[in-house]
Every structure is written in structure tokens, then in C-alpha cells.
């Protein structure tokens, strides 16, 4: 992608991060593929996360603790930290860029209206969840999420995703990833409460905040501080995926190996 486009995307990223703060008035169900009414959760709150990339050391403690807390199958992740090696073409200096990814609990989540049985829904506090008793496993929501934040859990055969650890938040605990974050990079909180840490930090860094793929119009509610514009959308990078293998040398974390 050329430089001008990149900068432009960066600008949009900033703008959208700003626009997301203006709470959308609740949208009533009208046309096809419109957002349905929200249900459950505390209407007084709006949970969001701020990730201070300057503090992330790429240790994957969040990935591991989430995996344990939420019992995701091997190879499927509710959160993961992408790592990039950036080499300066002239000086040859290299730097590493870490990008924790998780569900963005979008204000306009495309995964919600597609669900044919209303199993995926957004709570009034903004958290997007799946009722896996109702889910038929059609995987339409997996297709619709622009962030690959969803997967079909091979144990339950239903859609699975990050819930901001709603089960922990509801009893006053922090999400597993936040609790275990070594760098203190992940900050979660209620952005309707002006005194919460996240609200204060968002106010302070308002102009530097960015979200992922703003061009999708999803209004993500995971905000990044210290973001590099080149990583906002699909990065123009050379893939060098390391295969994850188990003790027998079998590849794990790969689509058709496990079942």
C-alpha cells in the first residue's frame, strides 16, 4: 500500500476512534442486516479496552491466561498477540512490533445482525456475547467479523469469542488477560464513567488513539495507544508463520488436523 493511502487510513483510524465515543443512540430493528435491540447487561455502562502498545512486551501471558480461563481448544484463540519484525530498509535496523488482538466489542458489530437465531447478541453494556445453547454453528458470524475474532469451538461446535471475560466483570473481577498483563498494557473499564482509568487515559491521549480497520465502519471499542498506522488494516507484511507442533511433531492449531 502506498504512503498516501496509509496515512489516509491512519487519519480515518483516528477519526473513527473519536466518533466511537459519541454513543450511538440505541438502534431499533428495522431493515435487513440492521442492528437488533441490545439485551441483558447494565445499560449504565459501556465497557471498552485501551491497549497501550508502548507497554506491551509481547510475552503472550494474556494469550495463555485467556486460554486457561476460557478453555479454548488448542490452536483457537480468543486473544493473541501478533508479532512483527520491522526492518529499516536503509539502516538495516530492526524493531519488533506487538499487536494484541481480541474482539473489539464493536459499536456496530457486523457479527450480530447476521446470526439467524439471535444467539450472538450485544449486551447493553456493549459486550458482544454468544449464547452457545442457542447457536446452531452456522459460522455466519465467523465470516462476518472483519477481525477474525471468532471461531467455531471444536469441543462445543458453536461460535466462540472473547467476552471481555463478562463472567468475571459481572462479579467485580478483571478479565484474565488484564489480570495477567505483565506490562500493564491492557486497561479495561467503563467509558461512561468519566473517572474510570480508561476514561481518563482516553481523554489524555484522545488524538493518538487508533482502532483496527476503521474502514469497515464497525466502530471498535478496543483502542490502541502507540499504534503504527501500517498495522491498522491488513499489514503489508511477509508472512512467516511458525507452525505450532505438539510433542509428536503433529501440527496443531491448524484447521483440519484435530478432527
Amino acid at each position: 500500500m502506498d504512503k498516501i493511502r496509509r496515512t489516509l487510513l491512519g487519519q480515518i483510524a483516528k477519526l473513527t476512534a473519536g466518533a466511537a465515543l459519541v454513543p450511538l443512540s440505541s438502534i431499533a430493528a428495522a431493515g435487513i442486516n440492521d442492528q437488533p435491540a441490545r439485551r441483558e447487561g447494565d445499560p449504565e455502562k459501556r465497557y471498552a479496552m485501551l491497549i497501550d502498545l508502548r507497554a506491551c512486551i509481547g510475552c503472550q501471558a494474556c494469550t495463555v491466561s485467556c486460554h486457561i480461563e476460557n478453555e479454548a481448544p488448542l490452536g483457537s484463540f480468543r486473544t493473541i498477540v501478533s508479532q512483527y519484525e520491522v526492518e529499516h530498509e536503509e539502516t538495516g535496523n530492526t524493531a519488533t512490533f506487538m499487536l494484541p488482538r481480541l474482539c473489539n466489542h464493536c459499536e456496530n458489530p457486523p457479527c450480530v445482525p447476521v446470526c439467524p437465531v439471535q444467539a450472538t447478541f450485544q449486551r447493553k453494556d456493549g459486550i458482544v456475547v454468544v449464547d452457545n445453547e442457542a447457536c446452531v454453528g452456522c459460522a455466519y458470524c465467523v465470516q462476518a467479523c472483519p477481525y477474525d475474532a471468532r471461531f467455531i469451538n471444536e469441543y462445543t461446535q458453536t461460535a466462540d469469542k472473547c467476552t471481555f471475560c463478562a463472567h468475571r466483570l459481572d462479579v467485580g473481577l478483571l478479565p484474565a488477560c488484564v489480570e495477567s498483563c505483565v506490562g500493564g498494557a491492557r486497561i479495561i473499564g467503563d467509558i461512561r464513567d468519566p473517572n474510570s482509568q480508561i476514561s481518563r487515559m482516553m481523554k489524555e491521549h484522545y488524538n493518538e488513539l487508533m482502532v483496527l480497520k476503521p474502514e469497515m465502519g464497525t466502530a471498535p471499542h478496543v483502542f490502541y495507544l502507540g499504534m503504527d498506522e501500517r498495522f491498522v488494516s491488513r499489514p503489508d507484511a511477509k508472512p512467516a508463520i511458525w507452525d505450532v507442533r505438539d510433542q509428536q511433531g503433529e501440527e496443531i492449531g491448524y484447521e483440519f488436523s484435530g478432527h
Partner: protein
């Protein structure tokens, strides 16, 4: 920003829709397209289209019956299918589809039943279990008035438009996949569906009804016209991407940049398309060649199926978030190869059972009046 970026660590995301989805989209497209091919001969009662209508009716019924099975199999929780009806969700295209599909199926079956009934009633007069069964299936010897057939046919046609719209829209609204997110996709599904349906009609005509030249000619014409229209649509889609008229098509192109496999696919598609169009034209022009229409028929079916395979399976290997492409190797089990073979096997079984029980080659109700 002169820098080279290497993605060191990223998970692999699997595909979420399996080859079952391709089978469903393929069969249902043939179903509504073949239904259209029955219209002049059966619904309008045009004599010179009656042979075409006979073959097309067999094709539409067999595909309509088997398609939904593949759809059900693509659910990870197929036994929960009743949730669709317990939680009506009018804002979801998939939910709308779940309402349209059973009604469509019933109307197509009713339409075919009414068309085949007079011949079944004659068959019921005979001896043996087939005659007995025909008697039961035709529900007595009373004469069904023609308006019943017309109503069922028009109803099935109306619903088929719903099926075309919902299957297309369901995929085309997914912004997350720019290669799907174009209003041309539903149009292309219908056009390639017609190509494949006409191709299948030619094949069945060759294998089961003695290669009727009129049927070959009419089907080849459908192929030529729809292939030219498909080329036009493809050209429009490409120009939307090049000019930036549609940002999502532009993104779609960007997502495939510098990928040699996708370039090969595009070239292959172009070549097969040209080969089919030219061979169909040649067969129409040279009287001696029309008997070999089955070659064009095979190509046409191949195009219809491969288009859906590329759109539904291969597009899922284009990473949304991360660099590069995922590798998709088709698995041997029920969600992969067995699924594909199984669906085709089921379709063949449906076709043969109908062939044994129904005297579908006899004249249809359309001409019995």
C-alpha cells in the same frame, strides 16, 4: 517509511464454511435455474420446448430435494436446525432463507407432481408394485385442473426469486470479505447457475433421453447468452475495482496482490469461459456437431461448480487480518471430500429413484389439454 515487515507470529484461522456450502449453493442454483428452463414448455405450454421442460423438471426436482440436505450438513449443530423456526430473526438473511427454502421446496415438488400426475395415473393402471405406488402417489384418478399447475409453477417461480436474492445477498453483504462484498456476486450466482443448469440438462439429455437435438440446441443457446452476460458482469466488477468506483472491490484486488495462485485461477477462469462460449457457438453453427453438446455440458457444469468453490472456499483462505494466505487442504472426512462425494451420490440416488418411479419422459400435463 522504507521498511520491510515480517509477520513473525500469527495464528492460523481455519475455514468456517465447509465444502457442504459449495454443494448447497451449487444444487440450489441449478434448482432455480432449471425451474426457469421448464417455464416455456410446461407453464406456457409451448410445444417445441416440451422436451426441454421434461429434462429440466427432473433436474430441478432432484436438486431441490438434495440441496437442503447439504445445507443442513454445513451447520456444526445440525440437530438444532429447529432453532431457526423457534427464533425468527427477520433481520438476518440466513433466517429469511430458512423460511423461504421449505416453501420453495414444497412448491417445486407440487409443480412437478401436477406435471407428472397424468402419466403416473396411466402407470397406476398397470400391474406390479410400481403401479401400486403410482396410484398412491397420484392420490386417485381425479383430474387436476391446469390452473393448479399454473398456480404451483408461478408460486415456485416467485419463491425462486427469493432464493436467488437471499443466497446472493447472504454472501454479498459480508463486508469483512471484500471479494464477496459486491452487488455483482448475486447476479453472477444466477448467471453461472443458469450455465450449470443448462449444462446438466444437456448431460441428462445425452444419458437418459437419447440426445434430443432440440434440447441440446435450446440449452446451448442459454449457455451462450448467459456466458456473454457473465463476461459483461465480470468486466464491470473489474472496472469497478480498477477505477476505485467501489472501494470494496478495490480492497478485494489489493488482497490478492502479487499472489501467483490467484492469478493462475483468473487466467484459468478466462480460458475455460472462452472455451465454453466458443465451443457452444460452434456446436450451434455446425449441424453435425450438436450431437457432441455433452462436451459443452460438462464444461458448463464444471464452471458453475468451480465458481462456487472459488468464491466460497478459496476466498476463505485470504487472511482478513494477518499477512498472507491460509492453506486449505481438503480433508478426506465428512466435512471435506466425503461431503462432496456424498452429496453427489445422494443426488444421483434421487435422480435414479425418480427415474424408476416416475414416467417423466411421457408427455407432461401441459400438453394433455
Amino acid at each position: 517509511m522504507n521498511s520491510a515487515v515480517i509477520e513473525v507470529l500469527a495464528p492460523r484461522y481455519g475455514i468456517a464454511w465447509y465444502p457442504w456450502a459449495v454443494q448447497y449453493f451449487f444444487l440450489i442454483a441449478i434448482s432455480y435455474s432449471a425451474l426457469l428452463l421448464t417455464v416455456p414448455g410446461l407453464l406456457f405450454g409451448k410445444k417445441n420446448y416440451e422436451s426441454l421442460a421434461k429434462v429440466a423438471l427432473l433436474v430441478t426436482v432432484s436438486c431441490t430435494l438434495v440441496g437442503p440436505v447439504a445445507l443442513l450438513a454445513d451447520l456444526h449443530q445440525p440437530l438444532r436446525f429447529w432453532h431457526f423456526y423457534a427464533n425468527l430473526t427477520p433481520w438476518s438473511w440466513m433466517s429469511i432463507g430458512s423460511l423461504l427454502l421449505p416453501v420453495y421446496l414444497i412448491l417445486v415438488v407440487a409443480y412437478a407432481w401436477l406435471a407428472w400426475r397424468p402419466a403416473m395415473q396411466v402407470q397406476a393402471q398397470g400391474e406390479g408394485w410400481i403401479a401400486k405406488l403410482s396410484g398412491w402417489v397420484s392420490l386417485g384418478q381425479w383430474c387436476a385442473p391446469r390452473w393448479m399447475l399454473v398456480v404451483a409453477g408461478l408460486g415456485a417461480l416467485a419463491l425462486s426469486v427469493g432464493i436467488m436474492v437471499y443466497t446472493g445477498a447472504e454472501v454479498a453483504i459480508v463486508k469483512a470479505r471484500p471479494l464477496w462484498n459486491t452487488h455483482w456476486l448475486p447476479v453472477m450466482f444466477v448467471l453461472t447457475g443458469l450455465v450449470a443448469a443448462a449444462g446438466l440438462v444437456i448431460l441428462i439429455n445425452r444419458l437418459m433421453t437419447g440426445n434430443d437435438q432440440e434440447v441440446n440446441e435450446q440449452s446451448l443457446k442459454v449457455i451462450v447468452v448467459t456466458m456473454i452476460l457473465s463476461a459483461l458482469v465480470a468486466a464491470l466488477w473489474i472496472s469497478e475495482g480498477i477505477t476505485g468506483f467501489s472501494p470494496s472491490v478495490e480492497q478485494a484486488f489489493a488482497s490478492l496482490q502479487r499472489n501467483p495462485e490467484w492469478r493462475a485461477v483468473a487466467i484459468y477462469g478466462l480460458l475455460v469461459g472462452i472455451a465454453l462460449t466458443l465451443s457452444a457457438i460452434a456446436m450451434l453453427r455446425r449441424p453435425g456437431w450438436i450431437g457432441r453438446s455433452w462436451i459443452a455440458g460438462l464444461l458448463a457444469v464444471h464452471i458453475g461448480w468451480t465458481f462456487r468453490w472459488m468464491v466460497l472456499m478459496e476466498v476463505q483462505t485470504v487472511a482478513k487480518n494477518t499477512a498472507g494466505y491460509y492453506h486449505y487442504a481438503i480433508e478426506a472426512g465428512s466435512s471435506g471430500l466425503m461431503g462432496i462425494i456424498g452429496t453427489f451420490g445422494l443426488w444421483l440416488a434421487a435422480l435414479l429413484i425418480i427415474d424408476i418411479l416416475v414416467p417423466w419422459k411421457k408427455s407432461l400435463q401441459a400438453s394433455s389439454h
